[in-house]
Symmetry: C2
Subunit: 307 residues, 2 copies
């Protein structure tokens, strides 16, 4: 088996044309910029990608566009967890066939309060139906949004049944105690834990984790990667403080439209700010305020406009 | 415009074969039984239908199977609200083209805390894209599951912009005060309110509502319809008490597997109990207990086994 992906991954924001259809051209350009600026991989079709506002076919077309444009599939970890088992199987099989490094799987998230047995059966049916030894499955724990958690008991059961396929977890709970519990319970058995925010990157690496998959990876990948590259160095804590400060600034804005507004601004490409409903663009006032704050902080996205 | 649908609607449970694929044959049979036993309409692909565990294509095939088997499209109100606008448009246009009485639309439910403007834009884009005067859109308010509410302010805005298309609402909040507020605010302007449980059927009719769309409509449609047919009669309260008692009994069990276990039992067809993950069947013990309670209460599903 190939070396598993590690480091900083970006849940790539998805550009839309004015008619709200996905824009493969802008998408490929942004993905290449990210890989050139510190991202070890791309967790395309995450929460920050508005992926849950895309149909299965729209995701498949975008993924194929990336691979055809020369983005290495070995750097891709698409989100493939849908409400319907049949959709998850279709997307996952497609990603595996394209040679993706792994898939990041939400649990089925419509029904709430579902049993551990039911969630186990969802993932187990998926793995059996995809039926491909290349599958590397990363569980996606994001209870503030999905409302359906991935518990340590579920991880244990899945790891025991499918040790070759169940590769790790992204923890977007925002709760370091949970990340710590998962690291302590499973990291030593080769289960790769990614923090869901760069705020926890250094702590996660020190605890045996493998990196982070973070919204702000879309706009600040070099600085975040610097923490990853230097996490054993004396300056690690100072570097971490720098990226945490940028994150703190962004936390005052709705994250996804803020990221898009930043790419629109530094890329000199206003249409990038377009959101698909139910999410909406920043108001002009909030956008001005965000950019002013970032300017004051000396923030930049080098090389974005040149493309 | 044709008379709008009124009375008791069942969010039809979806039968699966042993391989977990939807079973059109059992589905058609159950739909016809429901229409022969008190249902004025069928809200296929609701929460109780495990519809959110079905792909778009699976829903379309089942809907076509019903119409081809002679179930009148004028009695169908399929659920067509998905996370992705493009999926909602595809399902809704399909339903309208088949001649369905209406569609019951969940808001996009992955992203939480979305703005009223974003939800308005979702529904408005949908209506514009479907672009068909036959569309009768029923909003689906079920915050305990979707976590994304349909507020009175949103209803008002949609009704003002699309008075011909926005036909009503199913209130599954479980909160009578909310149903009352929607009735008081909009029923007199021709907005058809359906209670999400028969527990509120009589109160809803007295408040100007048009019926109910209720899980237990799958198993107890005749008795519920008797309340609808006799709501102005002296015995209305006694009839309401009877159906509320049956509902109370069922509330002690996970609703969807309980409904399927009942159809399996009274239909003499054990495979009907099959659930698609993430939901699971009742344990054998809970199933025995449910059926024993129902037997003691004198419950029956007449004519189910004969089919």
């Amino acid at each position: 088996m190939a070396q598993r992906i590690q480091g900083v991954l970006s849940p790539v924001v998805t550009p839309f044309k004015r008619d709200l259809s996905p824009d493969p051209e802008r998408y490929v350009r942004h993905c290449k910029w990210l890989l050139d600026h510190g991202c070890a991989g791309l967790a395309v079709f995450g929460t920050n990608s508005e992926a849950n506002s895309l149909s299965v076919d729209e995701r498949m077309l975008l993924l194929e566009a990336l691979v055809q444009a020369g983005v290495p599939a070995a750097k891709l970890m698409p989100g493939t967890g849908m409400c319907a088992l049949t959709d998850s199987v279709r997307l996952t099989a497609h990603a595996v066939t394209l040679g993706c490094a792994g898939v990041l799987m939400l649990p089925p998230f419509y029904y709430k309060g579902v049993s551990e047995a039911g969630l186990y059966r969802s993932f187990s049916e998926l793995i059996e139906r995809v039926g491909d030894a290349r599958l590397q499955l990363y569980l996606y724990h994001i209870p503030p949004v999905s409302q359906v958690p991935i518990t340590p008991a579920l991880i244990e059961r899945l790891l025991k049944a499918y040790p070759e396929s169940v590769a790790g977890l992204k923890d977007s709970s925002g709760d370091w105690n949970n990340t710590k519990a998962v690291l302590d319970g499973f990291a030593s058995s080769g289960f790769d834990v990614f923090a869901g925010s760069e705020v926890f990157l250094l702590a996660n690496l020190r605890g045996g984790g493998k990196g982070c998959i973070t919204a702000t990876g879309n706009v600040n990948p070099e600085a975040i990667d610097r923490v990853y590259q230097n996490w054993r160095a004396p300056e690690a804590d100072a570097l971490q403080a720098g990226i945490s400060a940028t994150r703190d600034l962004l936390q005052n804005y709705p994250m996804i439209p803020a990221l898009k507004a930043m790419i629109a601004h530094w890329g000199g490409d206003p249409d990038w700010a377009t959101m698909r409903p139910p999410l909406v663009e920043l108001t002009a006032e909030r956008q001005r305020s965000l950019l002013a704050e970032l300017d004051s902080a000396g923030f930049d996205m080098p090389g974005l406009a040149a493309r």
